[in-house]
């Protein structure tokens, strides 16, 4: 085991950790919108710089963060290669019938940059925001939907139950895997079918246990008069501070500039 897994919340008290989850979620969305509406090089590079500063402010190591890229390396590679070859334009290099175009190279690089910004932006959000704060933030931002008669509280209860049970499920899966290994299940067999069958021996009991758990959880919730209540305690933990507002203002300014640039250029 390497310890920290990608996307897992890392406890800390950095600047990024201390921000209000609502602000972080909004900023993350603003960044996504910004880099999708505008593809000028300077604008994207400026965002990359923002991300680098954010990593710095998160207390996470650059080495660890760049290591995370390994998990999406194929996605990056495939997008890049496809765009190089499939974008029509002035050929830079020809390999028989297919050729790399100048436009392709440009678009591929821009999209690669966009993907990197999106990836690191959301990764920073989930790695510096504890699941509870994250769901509190999401719950708050979704509250207006209540007016449209959408049961937000049920949705956030589901979210919070998932956060509660993900670690339990992982633990359970590990135990079942070891138990089946003790009966000779071959999880690393070179034969794909054998391996698939072995994994069924984990999935079936896990599924069964989850059904039982759902039933028992339901009973426990009913016993405590579950109604789909507003989470006062959780909401009261959210506190907006000066730095949150400054950051939010700054991000909207950046977005505004991005919008006006793309409007001006079109």
């Amino acid at each position: 085991m390497t310890g920290i897994k990608i996307g897992q919340y890392v406890h800390g008290d950095s600047f990024l950790h201390s921000l209000d989850p609502r602000i972080k979620i909004i900023c993350c969305i603003v960044i996504m919108v910004s880099v999708l509406i505008n593809y000028s090089w300077y604008y994207l590079l400026f965002h990359l710089l923002l991300i680098i500063m954010a990593i710095k402010a998160s207390g996470l190591s650059f080495r660890f963060m760049s290591g995370c890229l390994r998990s999406i390396r194929y996605l990056l590679l495939v997008t890049f290669v496809l765009q190089i070859f499939l974008t029509p334009g002035e050929a830079v290099l020809s390999l028989g019938r297919i050729s790399i175009s100048q436009e392709g190279l440009l678009i591929a690089s821009i999209n690669l940059l966009r993907l990197l910004i999106l990836f690191f932006g959301s990764l920073l959000l989930i790695m510096t925001t504890s699941p509870i704060k994250l769901s509190a933030g999401i719950e708050f931002l979704l509250l207006p939907l209540n007016k449209l008669n959408i049961p937000v509280h049920h949705f956030t209860t589901i979210l919070s139950i998932s956060f509660r049970f993900i670690p339990t499920l992982i633990e359970e899966a590990t135990i079942i895997k070891n138990a089946q290994r003790s009966r000779g299940a071959q999880f690393d067999s070179p034969n794909l079918i054998v391996r698939l069958k072995s994994y069924m021996a984990i999935i079936i009991p896990l599924f069964e246990a989850s059904l039982l758990r759902a039933e028992e959880l339901g009973e426990a919730m009913d016993s405590r008069c579950y109604t789909g209540h507003p989470n006062q305690l959780r909401m009261s933990s959210l506190k907006l501070m000066g730095k949150d507002l400054v950051l939010l203002g700054f991000m909207f300014l950046v977005l505004g500039i991005g919008i006006s640039i793309s409007l001006g250029s079109s």
Partner: protein, 282 residues
């Protein structure tokens, strides 16, 4: 007697070098002879489950050596074959059942051994009998329709069908009522009669003291006692520390001994304890 389990200066650390590092076992040494029954006692989180996973090669020793059935578990290739000789029944094994018939469930392990289906069938029948089930009536049943206690029997049968040299059970009695607990003891006694080795962990000393040959007491990853039950019963330090965990009749005898009465504390069963008190009162 040849040693069937030999543990020397064992340390085990989970996820060493990570923020989640956890020192699960510290400097553990003991050995068990073939045909003996070892009871491992300790509270939840004392390292019992980690220790038994080293016995069947699921984990490899961090430092020190663990030799089981003459296999050095530090060797990855050998370790991965150890399940054929050492069967480990996990906690709540009824939660690991996945086949649609009792027969297939019990046959899963033996089939992985690559033996003929005739032999698999023989083993399944024998194993079901050993856990007190009638094979003809149960093999076609869907495990999901059985009660928790019955499912546990099926799960244990699945391990017995591997004909293990060592049967290791992790908290097999948790949540069972007296009839279920007696069945586990019967399985172990049956193995003892056939000179087969068994290991069982429990957070309840009362459950194991009556029939164990050797007792290991674990506390926060350390082995605080290892020896024969008679040694335990004569070890006043250990008796004092774990007094409330002992069966009532042993607590009574040791309390009487503390009061200065000449009483034999090296007694296991309730019947013998009654006789000893009668002798005292006579």
């Amino acid at each position: 007697m040849p040693k069937i389990i030999d543990v020397k200066e064992l340390d085990f650390i989970y996820m060493p070098g990570s923020p989640y590092e956890q020192n699960a076992l510290k400097n553990i040494s003991f050995s068990l002879d073939e045909g003996e029954f070892l009871g491992i006692f300790g509270p939840n989180g004392s390292g019992k489950s980690t220790l038994v996973q080293l016995f069947n090669g699921l984990l490899s020793p961090g430092r020190g050596t663990v030799t089981v059935c003459d296999t050095d578990t530090a060797d990855k290739k050998l370790r991965q074959q150890l399940w054929k000789k050492v069967s480990l029944v996990f906690q709540y094994p009824e939660q690991q059942i996945f086949q649609i018939s009792v027969y297939d469930e019990v046959a899963y392990g033996p089939r992985n051994l690559g033996i003929s289906e005739t032999e698999v069938r023989q083993r399944v029948y024998l194993a079901l009998e050993q856990v007190g089930l009638i094979p003809e009536e149960t093999i076609g049943v869907t495990p999901i329709s059985l009660s928790g206690g019955m499912r546990r029997r099926v799960a244990i049968a699945g391990m017995l069908a591997l004909n293990p040299e060592i049967l290791v059970m992790d908290e097999p009695m948790a949540g069972l009522d007296p009839i279920g607990r007696k069945l586990i003891l019967d399985i172990i006694n049956n193995r003892k009669e056939h000179k087969l080795t068994s290991v069982m962990t429990s957070h309840n000393l009362k459950e194991i003291i009556a029939i164990a040959d050797k007792i290991a007491i674990m506390d926060s990853g350390c082995l605080v006692f290892f020896g024969a039950v008679s040694e335990l019963l004569e070890n006043n330090n250990i008796l004092a520390k774990y007094r409330l965990e002992l069966p009532d009749h042993i607590q009574l005898l040791s309390a009487l001994a503390e009061r200065g009465l000449k009483v034999n504390t090296n007694i296991r069963s309730l019947n013998e304890a009654a006789l000893e008190i009668l002798r005292l009162l006579a």
